[in-house]
Amino acid sequence: MLPVSCKEDSSGVSEPQATRLRVWGHAGREAERRTVERQVQGFNEETDDVYVDLTLLPEGEYNAQVQAAALADELPDVLEFDGPFVYNYVWQGHLIPLDQYVSPELRDNLLPSIIAQGTYRRQLWSLGQYDSGLALFGRRSKLRIINARIPDTPERAWAGDEFEEILYRLAQKDVDGQVLDLKLNYKGEWYTYGFSPALRSAGAGLIDRTNYQAAEGVLNSAEAVRAMSRIQEWIGAKGYVDPNVDDYAFLGGRVALSWVGHWEYARYSEALGDDLVVIPLPDFGKASRTGQGSWNWGITRSCANPEAAMRFLEYLLGDDRVLEMTRANYAVPATRSAVAKSALHRPNGALHLYVAQLSQGYAVPRPRTPAYPVITSVFQQAFDDIRHGADVATVLNRAAAEIERDIHDNQGYPPQREEGG
């Protein structure tokens, strides 16, 4: 299957040699992995003059491997990465802007959230096949016992007090009073992905997004302290939250509500069937907010033939490929046309809530700044402290100061000359 062999095989007719693209992707769950491999194979069979050579790297150490390859000047032509890392990679000068290569049709077809995630300093740097979302998965039967209203759209989300009233009533009927799963068994990025939307919903955030320089007064604002104190109370004083060590709290029927991303739909729907409901996250004051963003593709500076790379990305973004992938991982298809063809995601589909959240402004991209790796690491530590009962205001003050110190150390992450592209 080496591209050079094409030349020899082709009965004497001299063909231009195929462009070989080195592509790095993440080795996700098995279904995702197999899909990506199948699609690369499909592209290579359909395309004569471009050959994609795919390497899958383990997810856990992905960023470290990219950084190592960058230092050694051995980045591939096309690189996949987790959404919020794109701004750091752009700043480090690893990627090229895609604006001149993306067709207007494709751009119009992409969900606004995908464009938002891939855009940094008014240029587009990355494209994804799918997007993500948060929601509360609920057991309809348990919610019915306490006569809870079940919201089906983000604008009708439970208000903070209403949500706490529901938790209280569920706890009254529960053996151990633990009725909510916050996936406290997850580690790392989950804290930022899963709980920074609560900050936004309260009118706070990780950082001031006007120029991404200040965290003081945003991450440690009164609204932020109130929102995080609420979550701390659910876990601590009120004891509503199952520690979920076995990742079976919701499936085993120990809790009525599970606060998690779309990826649990596969397991949950299989086990619960019609008893499963998908509910928007509660509104902490300024409307319900969800996370967004997922794995993305970008073209690196070392790519000699960006047009060929773009053909590969356009192929991946074809409806059939997008739908094949989202059938494997239950994520939200990244294009409007694919959403329209997905029964689960169309209006009235079981997962339409995620599409509504992404397309109606309820989803917030993680901060679009090269400081993101530091912001997320600091917030993860802060949330872990809050979860374990530390004083919320003290923790958030320290976190805000640490983030600002990093930004100051990096001279505010000034735009680099290469970013002009």
């Binding site: 480090q92 790796p373 690491s377 402290d385």
Partner: protein, 304 residues
Amino acid sequence: MNATRHLLRYLRCERVVGPFLAMPAMLGLVLFVAVPFVMAAVLSLTNLRLGSPLETKFVGGQQYERVFADPSFQRALLNNGIFAAVVVPVQTGLALLLALALNQRLRGMAAFRTLFFMPVLFPMALVAVVWELIYAPGPSGPLNAVLEAATFGAATPQDFLHDRMLALPAIMFMSIWQGVGFQMVVLLAGLQEIPSELYEAAATEQAGRWSQFWHVTLPQLRNPLVFTALVTTILAFRVFDQVQIMTQGGPVDATTTVMFEAVRAVFDRQQVAQASAMTVVFFVMVLVVALVQRVLVRQRREVV
């Protein structure tokens, strides 16, 4: 003439052959210990960041000021101190007890020795994952269930790894469980080296078992004991795997360590210079402990 020849031979042997033979080891030491340490020391005086397009600048002692002012790093230093102060004596003492108990000529003793040694063979990552399950909160957690049964219900279920008072002891307990077998084997070998004549002589002198232990066993075991204590101390300062897997330094820094803080700084926050400063502090700390132990051991040797 004769003297010159002697001198030449001496030179050839000591000055030339000696260093020549030591070269491979010295080269390794320089390449893998001295150079990285000097690099870390130099980097710790800069503001180097992983992958940053900005210019690296010399910032003097700023990273050290920050590191020492950081509450997490202060707590890490304290935790490393507590860990070493508890684990080294307890683990060594326990290993000695086990070695004494297993130094009997009974049938099936080899099986017991193997059992106690086995945890040493498991990778720490595996042991940590298993103990995370053992420490599971709630009445159904294995350790909670055992404690409840053993105390006839007096012990209430604990969330060991998420309790600020219990998390560090829980990590220390599993570390001792994992590491004690190694010291036990070293001490067991030491015990078997002790000539039985010494015990026979002691018995003739009417020495009881306790007295035999104090005046024969312990002095004879001095070298293996010194060795195990030294190795355990260094391992105690290096503790990282179980923290990374079981608690990520939490709850609220209760289990964080110097190594954990350094790894977080460089790999999560791309702060190479700050992590370098942490590792330099760490190196100096371990060096001081090793030197102190060396001095103590040498003094005892001179007395004996």
